[in-house]
Symmetry: C3
Subunit: 148 residues, 3 copies
C-alpha cells in the first residue's frame, strides 16, 4: 500500500470527483479543463476512444460530447493511491459511467480510471488520465462516441 | 473547491451514509429522524415526491415508505463539500437508489443529494435535504411513491 | 456513531478496497490472502456460498472462482465503522458485485460486507469477512458459484 498523506489523498480524490461532476454537467468545458495541466494527456484508447494531447484536443472532444449527450452520471468508487513522491502522485478508481445521447441511445461503462497528477501553485492537477474497461464494452459505446 | 476540515468532511459524509443505512433498514423511523434537526426540510419535489417540513411530516412519509417496500439499497458516492463556515456546511453526493415494493414493482433512481447541515451539541444534523435526478426518471418511481 | 481515528478508518477502507481490486484481478490468490489473517473466517453462507476457515480453504475457493470467471467488478461504497478498540475494529460497506463467467453467464449482487480486522505488525488484516444480500439474490449466483 502506497503511503500518501491524508491531505493529498483527499486532494486527488477531490480532483477525480470534480472531473465526474464536470463531465456530468455537460456544460462548461473550461471548468473541466481547469482540472488538467495545459499539456495533459488523456488516453482512452483502451476503450476505443481517442488519445488526446493538451487542452486544445481535449476541448474539441468534450465540446463534441457535451453537444451530443442529454444526460451523464459517473459514479466513482474504490479510490486507491498507486504512486506518491510528495509533488506528484497517482490514484486509480472504479467508475460506473452512464450516458444518454440526443439520438436516444444509452450506454453504461464499467471502467477503471487512473489519474496521474502533480502539485501546482493552483492545487493538484491531472497530467495523464487513462482508463480501461473492467467488463466487455457495450456496443453502444462505439455507436455514441465512435466517430470522435 | 471548498475548504472543509477533514473531521467535518468525515462527519458530513457519515451523516449522509447513516441516512442510507437508515432508509435501507426499512424499520426504525426514529433512527432516521435523529439525523435531521426537528425543523428539517426535505425537498423531493424535483423528482415528483413531497416537500416535507419537520419530523412530523417526515415520519408520516417514511412510515408509509417502510410499510410498502420490501428492499432498499442506496449506494452513495462522489462526496463533494459545497459550503462551509465552521458551524454549518453543505455536501452533495451521487446516489444509486434501488427499491423493491411489496406489490412486486422495482425502481432504480440515479440522483444527486444535497445535505445542508449544522453542528449541534449532538453532532452534525441535516437541516435541509434535497435531490434531483441525473437521468430521466423511471415510470415506476411514480407508481411506487406517487401517492404519498 | 463509532469513534475511529481517521488513520485507522482509512486503513480499514483501504483493506476492503484492496480486497475488491484483488478479487477483480482474477489472478493472484496470494495477493488476496495477504489481506486476511492466516486463520480468517469467510462466511458467505447468508448468500448460499461457503463458510471458509483459514487460508487453505480460502485458496481453494478463490482459485476455483478465478478459473471460472472472465470478468469481475466490485464497486464498494457506504463505509461505516461499527466497532473499534484501538487494536481491532469492524467496518461495513455496500458492494455492487458484477461477474461474468467463462460459460457466458452473468451475475450482479447487491450486498453488504462486514470486515472485522485486527492491527498486526504488517498492518490491518481481516479476521472475519461476512456478507448478506440487500436485494433478492439473482438465480445466476447459484448457477455460477453454487457448486463450490
Amino acid at each position: 500500500m502506497i503511503n500518501m498523506p491524508l491531505e493529498d489523498r483527499t486532494a486527488l480524490q477531490d480532483l477525480m470527483i470534480a472531473y465526474c461532476y464536470a463531465v456530468d454537467r455537460l456544460e462548461h468545458v473550461d471548468e473541466l479543463l481547469a482540472l488538467f495541466t495545459e499539456d495533459a494527456v488523456l488516453d482512452f484508447s483502451a476503450i476505443g476512444l481517442p488519445l488526446m494531447n493538451g487542452h486544445g484536443e481535449m476541448r474539441k472532444f468534450y465540446e463534441s460530447v457535451f453537444k451530443d449527450m442529454t444526460h451523464h452520471a459517473h459514479y466513482i468508487t474504490n479510490f486507491r493511491p498507486i504512486r506518491y513522491d510528495g509533488n506528484s502522485g497517482a490514484m486509480t478508481a472504479y467508475v460506473i459511467g452512464i450516458g444518454h445521447s440526443k439520438d436516444g441511445n444509452e450506454v453504461t461503462v464499467n471502467v477503471q480510471y487512473t489519474f496521474e497528477a502533480i502539485r501546482t501553485a493552483a492545487g493538484w492537477k491531472c497530467q495523464r488520465y487513462s482508463m480501461f474497461s473492467m467488463l466487455p464494452l457495450p456496443g453502444s459505446l462505439a455507436e455514441i462516441h465512435g466517430e470522435r
